[in-house]
Structure formats: structure tokens, C-alpha cells
């Protein structure tokens, strides 16, 4: 459904993404892992069309209009209620939803200002809004961060449902277990390039490898006293 060829992104002389090539198919869930600063968020911004880039993304016409993008750092207007936020996102895509309350599965206080929500509630609101937009492609940048265990279970189930509905889902997460239970394949992003593609059967080995690399002498450097 989406074919990314030779995608690069520079900020001045700083090269954040380097010659990315990847094919993303409908009905699949892709995980993107990488250290902070590896380029995950920039990759999502380019894929969604929010940021300019070099290279080519082949897909359906008007791809951006069928993408639901859950940003890792989302912005809420100071005095917008949860209900109005959802309505704004629905209006943006010309989607009519009769009963928002009935579809408020996270029991959010929709008539309160979104700005006063907790971090987890804000994430759940943003996720609800993009789900109600009836998108075909979902980019979920850190969907599990800051939400409670119960909601983590619900989000995992939602991702399974999206896969069944033949949607394309791309997720990034720092919690490996959440990726292991939802993804069909995981791509490792390092210093702006995809360095490895791991299929489901090798997830465990990938996790062990990442743990070993991360912990190697790292904590000793802190010289904790």
C-alpha cells in the first residue's frame, strides 16, 4: 500500500533520516524501534506529509487524508473540550458521528477541557478521535506511553481489531512487550537508517540483543555512589 524509496530528511547539515526504503502493506502491523533521537518521529512526520522530505513515497492518491496520526507530543488548545476536539477532527475529514458518547470507550469526561486531562487521558482522547475518523492507515507514535494498564490492554486489542479490518498500522514504542504482542514485523531504526528487519518468530532474540547492547557497561558509566 505504501512504498517508501530513498527517503531522506535533513535539518540544515544534520541528516536525520538517510535513504530509507520500506514497503508497508495493508492488514499488517509494523513496529519501529530505535533509541531516542534515532529518527522515529521524523520518519512519521515525513510519512504523514507533515514535514517535507527528499525521496519518494508511492501510495494511493491523497494518502494524508486517510492517515490517523497519534503524535507522541500532541497539542491541545487551552479551552477546547474533549467533545469539541473529537468534533474538530471529525469535521476535518467530513465524517459524521451520531453519538460520540456511545463510542467514548475510555470513559473520558468529554465536556471538560482537554488541557486539564492527565497525560494518559489526553493520549486516549487523541486516539479516540483518530479512530472515529475512520482512517485506513494509522501511525501511532508511542501509543502506550503514560496510559494505565487497563487502557494498554484496550489499545492492544484495538490494534488487533485494526489488523482484522485490513488497516495498515505503524507503531513505535519503547515498551518491547507491547510491540511483541501487536506487530507482524519490527524494523530497527539507528541513526536515521533501518538497520534490521525482524519477523515475529525472532522478536525474542531481538529483545535479548537490545537488552544486552543497552546494558553493556552503560550503568557503570554513571559511577553511582
Amino acid at each position: 500500500m505504501i512504498s517508501i524509496k530513498d527517503l531522506s530528511k535533513n535539518y540544515g547539515t544534520n541528516s536525520v533520516l538517510k535513504h530509507i526504503n520500506i514497503d508497508l502493506k495493508k492488514g499488517n502491523v509494523y513496529g519501529i524501534v530505535g533509541e531516542n533521537g534515532a529518527g522515529k518521529t521524523t520518519f512519521f512526520n515525513c510519512l504523514s506529509g507533515i514535514e517535507k522530505y527528499k525521496g519518494k513515497i508511492d501510495s494511493v492518491k491523497n494518502l494524508k487524508d486517510i492517515i490517523g496520526f497519534l503524535q507522541t507530543e500532541f497539542y491541545f488548545f487551552p479551552k477546547i473540550t474533549g467533545r469539541e476536539y473529537i468534533q474538530l477532527l471529525l469535521n476535518a475529514r467530513d465524517v459524521g458521528v451520531e453519538n460520540i458518547d456511545q463510542r467514548n470507550i475510555f470513559d473520558l469526561p468529554l465536556d471538560k477541557y482537554a488541557m486539564n486531562y492527565s497525560t494518559g487521558m489526553k493520549k486516549k482522547l487523541a486516539l479516540t478521535a483518530i479512530l472515529l475518523q475512520e482512517n485506513t492507515v494509522f501511525i501511532l507514535d508511542e501509543p502506550f506511553n503514560g496510559v494505565d494498564i487497563q487502557s494498554n490492554i484496550i489499545i492492544t486489542e484495538i490494534i488487533h481489531q485494526l489488523k482484522k479490518l485490513n488497516k495498515l498500522v505503524i507503531i513505535s514504542s519503547h515498551i518491547f512487550s507491547t510491540l511483541a504482542t501487536t506487530c507482524d514485523e519490527i524494523h530497527v531504526l539507528k541513526e536515521g537508517s533501518f538497520v534490521k528487519k525482524v519477523m515475529k518468530e525472532d522478536f525474542e532474540a531481538l529483545e535479548d540483543e537490545m537488552k544486552a547492547k543497552t546494558l553493556l557497561n552503560t550503568i557503570d558509566k554513571l559511577e553511582l555512589k
Binding site: S48, G49, I50, K52, I57, D58, S59, V60, K61, N62, L63, K64, D65, F69, Q71, F74, Y75, F77, P78, K79, I80, T81, R83, E84, Y85, Q87, L88, L89, N91, A92, R93, D94, D111, K112, Y113, M115, N116
Partner: protein
């Protein structure tokens, strides 16, 4: 503590630079704007109450430094003694420009009140965010109007009261003034630029995006101004022509403001473009020229976000 104030100064300069003011002109521009506004307050309110109003404005500005989250951060970062000194010094510094203008107006007692209240306020923190949701009639198409209404709802009764007063004292000019005031308020809803995401998410072309914004703006402005226009039309029927012309002009400026909003997108409108907008508001024929200028610039900027490049 010195480092804190140096940092604040640097941050202020960055904000002003982002607004498009050249570094050398930053402070002369700020002083000029401050003097103009102060002068306007004394001119518009009249001698008897001007100092009260001016003091009230100064305190409203100072009070914002007492915002809870900011103060929680300061309390966590500094010792109790340093925190108290910072708060007191901040309030004194912010009160000083107002005090200097009050010297010019020879209102010496108000200077004493101003510093006393400023120092007193440094002892308090205020939770300015409210959990109470102000109902809005503009919730169906949320954004500029619903948010703007919640921030300025208290001004609506004042504006409508001015219309009522104009009818009571048979002063048509006052009625027209209330209509103009309403549109200045509505135009102010379009002065803050939204995050790029909230433009990107629309499935419209740049042209349709602007048309939809204009449609929403015009419908809601029609709804807000209807009580004024209808009342003036009924009670000042002889001036119906003027009322219609003023109303049409107001809509023209509102549409211009909606279009101009995105002329520097994704950045906030810069000072040169704000000045062009301001000038076109004061000289109608110029508005017809700048209309095209703002439209082309906004379309150009929106294209990079709204047009699908895939």
C-alpha cells in the same frame, strides 16, 4: 538569581525576534507601543477614571506572574528566600513602566498603590485555569470561535449593553461603535496560529480550507452581530444604509483577517504583515489590494501542508 533574570531577558528577546522585530528596534518599538496604548487609555476613558482603569490594567498584567504552574516550578527550583526575592523583583520590574507613565500623568499616589499591590501580589499564587467549562454556542464547528468566546465571554454583555445604551440615549454613533467593537473582538480570534497538525489533518485543498474557515467565520459573526444589527435597524431605521455598509465592511475585514492568518504559516503572522493588515484596515482601497496579497501568500503556505505530495 541574576542568571534567572538574564535567561528571562534572553527568552523575551527570542519571542520578539520571532515576531519579526529587528533586534535594534525591539525596545524602541516596545516603548512606542506601550506609550501609544497608555495614552489611548487616558484619552478614551477620560480624566476622572483613567488612573483607576490604568491601575487595574497594570495589576491585571502583574497578576499573571502569579500563575500556579509557573510558581510551582520556581518553588521547586529555588530556595524559599530566593523564590520570594524573584517574585518581588519580577513584580516591581513589571510595574515600573506603568509607574513611569503615571509620573508623566502626575498621578503620584497611584504609583504608591501600584508598587504596594505588586509587592503584595508577589506573596500569592493564583490558579488561573478553571475546571468549569464555559458553554459556547459555537461548539458545532469548534476552534477559533469556541475558544475565542471562552476567553472573552465577559465582553459580550458589555458590547450588547453599549448597543442597548445607544438606543436608550438615542446615540447612533455609540451603536455603530458597539458593532465595530464586536468585530474587533471577532477578528482577534484569528490572530493566533494553530499547530501544524491541526491544518494537516484537513482533507481539503488550501482553497477549500480557506473557504470553509470563511464560511464558519461569517456564519458565526452573523449570529453574534445579529442582536446589534437588528436592534439598530429597528430603532435607527433612518440610518439603515449606514448600518448595512458598516456591517459589510466588518465582514470584509473579518474575511481579510481569516485569509491573512496563514500568510506566514506555520509561523505567527510577522510584524511587517501585521502592519500591512493594520494599514489596510484603516484605508479601505488598500484592503482590496492586500486581500489578493494575503490570499496568495496563505495559499502558498498552506499548500506545503495540505497538498498531498505522495
Amino acid at each position: 538569581m541574576k542568571w534567572y533574570f538574564v535567561l528571562q531577558f534572553k527568552m523575551l528577546n527570542r519571542h520578539l525576534k520571532d515576531f519579526g522585530i529587528p533586534t535594534l528596534l525591539i525596545y524602541p518599538t516596545l516603548v512606542s507601543i506601550f506609550l501609544l496604548l497608555s495614552n489611548f487609555v487616558f484619552y478614551a476613558v477620560g480624566e476622572s477614571y483613567a488612573s483607576y482603569v490604568y491601575l487595574f490594567i497594570a495589576i491585571s498584567v502583574i497578576i499573571k506572574l502569579g500563575e500556579r504552574k509557573r510558581n510551582d516550578f520556581l518553588k521547586l527550583s529555588f530556595t524559599q528566600k530566593k523564590y520570594a526575592s524573584i517574585r518581588a523583583l519580577e513584580n516591581v520590574l513589571l510595574a515600573t513602566p506603568f509607574a513611569l507613565y503615571l509620573i508623566y500623568e502626575k498621578e503620584y499616589w497611584y504609583i504608591v498603590y501600584l508598587y504596594l499591590v505588586g509587592l503584595l501580589l508577589s506573596k500569592f499564587t493564583l490558579d488561573l485555569s478553571t475546571s468549569y467549562t464555559i458553554p459556547t454556542p459555537f461548539g458545532k464547528k469548534p476552534f477559533e470561535f469556541s475558544l475565542g468566546f471562552r476567553n472573552t465571554f465577559f465582553l459580550y454583555p458589555i458590547i450588547y449593553f453599549l448597543t442597548y445604551k445607544s438606543i436608550e440615549v438615542k446615540n447612533f454613533n455609540l451603536g455603530i461603535f458597539s458593532l465595530l467593537l464586536l468585530f474587533v473582538l471577532l477578528i482577534s480570534y484569528y490572530t493566533k496560529i494553530e499547530n501544524r497538525y491541526f491544518v494537516w489533518m484537513f482533507k481539503y485543498t488550501p482553497k477549500t480550507f480557506l473557504i470553509e474557515k470563511i464560511k464558519t467565520g461569517v456564519i458565526y459573526a452573523l449570529f453574534s452581530s445579529a442582536p446589534i444589527v437588528v436592534s439598530l435597524g429597528v430603532f435607527f431605521y433612518d440610518y439603515i444604509g449606514i448600518i448595512i455598509v458598516v456591517q459589510l465592511l466588518c465582514f470584509l475585514y473579518l474575511i481579510q483577517a481569516i485569509i491573512a492568518k496563514y500568510c506566514d504559516f506555520p509561523m505567527q503572522i510577522t510584524l511587517p504583515n501585521s502592519m500591512i493588515f493594520g494599514m489596510s484596515m484603516s484605508f479601505l482601497p488598500l484592503a482590496l489590494l492586500t486581500f489578493r496579497y494575503f490570499y496568495r501568500k496563505s495559499i502558498q503556505n498552506l499548500t506545503s501542508v495540505l497538498n498531498d505530495k505522495h
